[in-house]
Symmetry: C2
Subunit: 129 residues, 2 copies
DNA sequence: CCGTATCCCAGCAGATACTG
DNA sequence: CAGTATCTGCTGGGATACGG
């Protein structure tokens, strides 16, 4: 993602949370509930390489989802934490996780097929395109 | 995306809604509130090319978000609609859109900075990693 | 009308080694 | 400790033309 997309509100939000590891990083920070250091955070995410990890962090910082706090140089000590904006995204990630549990792991939770179409007024108030 | 990711529930959900145009397509279908035909749907999405459009539709169908219904051959008539599963995702897209409005268009709505950390029990019940 | 076929490319992502 | 540097590959996305 170079620049966030602004065509519609959902798309704008998606452009900020898309990225192979961003939601995972947010989950880690949410789970630990306190600022985390670079290696501490990375070691909780198996399979990520330092380059990609740094890139994702940089984008998330630029988009205001996380805060990077340099506590000391040599020995360098940096702490990452969720910003208020990132925090405000957590309830949505929780909803997504619940949806994922129901729909992607059908063996664990039975799929609820009784969803109904939301009112159009709700859609429009939310700027859903 | 080749195969959905299953490491954690959020990631699993994200792997299904990621894709340059998927949320936009869902928005269109949600807004119109009735089955839409290929060209009708595509013409509501400026900038998309037929190849990509078809690819996104195929993936969404495979992931059970939409239903593809062939009503007749020659003249070919196909209708796309949201499945129950796709429908069940709409409330989350609405939340995302609201978040996007607040955070990506700060001129239109003032940013609310009073979010608080959800309880860890909520996170874990949702399978948030 | 509803797509494929073909070609192309930028950018994301990964592995590994290295440094202030 | 917290990152860069470098190289490399893949694949998602795009333009355009054509086909059943």
């Amino acid at each position: 993602m170079k620049e966030p997309r602004f065509d519609c509100a959902v798309d704008a939000a998606m452009s900020v949370i898309e990225g192979r590891w961003k939601t995972v990083i947010m989950c880690q920070l949410a789970h630990r509930r306190e600022p985390m250091r670079y290696n501490q955070l990375m070691s909780g995410i198996p399979g990520i390489s330092p380059r990609i990890f740094t890139l994702q962090l940089k984008e998330m910082e630029k988009d205001g989802l996380i805060i990077r706090d340099v506590r000391s140089e040599s020995p360098k000590h940096v702490e990452y934490s969720l910003s208020p904006r990132g925090l405000s995204l957590l309830p949505i990630l929780v909803s997504l996780a619940e949806w994922g549990l129901k729909n992607m792991f059908p063996n664990r939770v039975r799929f609820e097929a009784n969803a109904t179409m939301p009112e159009r007024s709700d859609l429009e108030r939310a700027g859903l395109c």
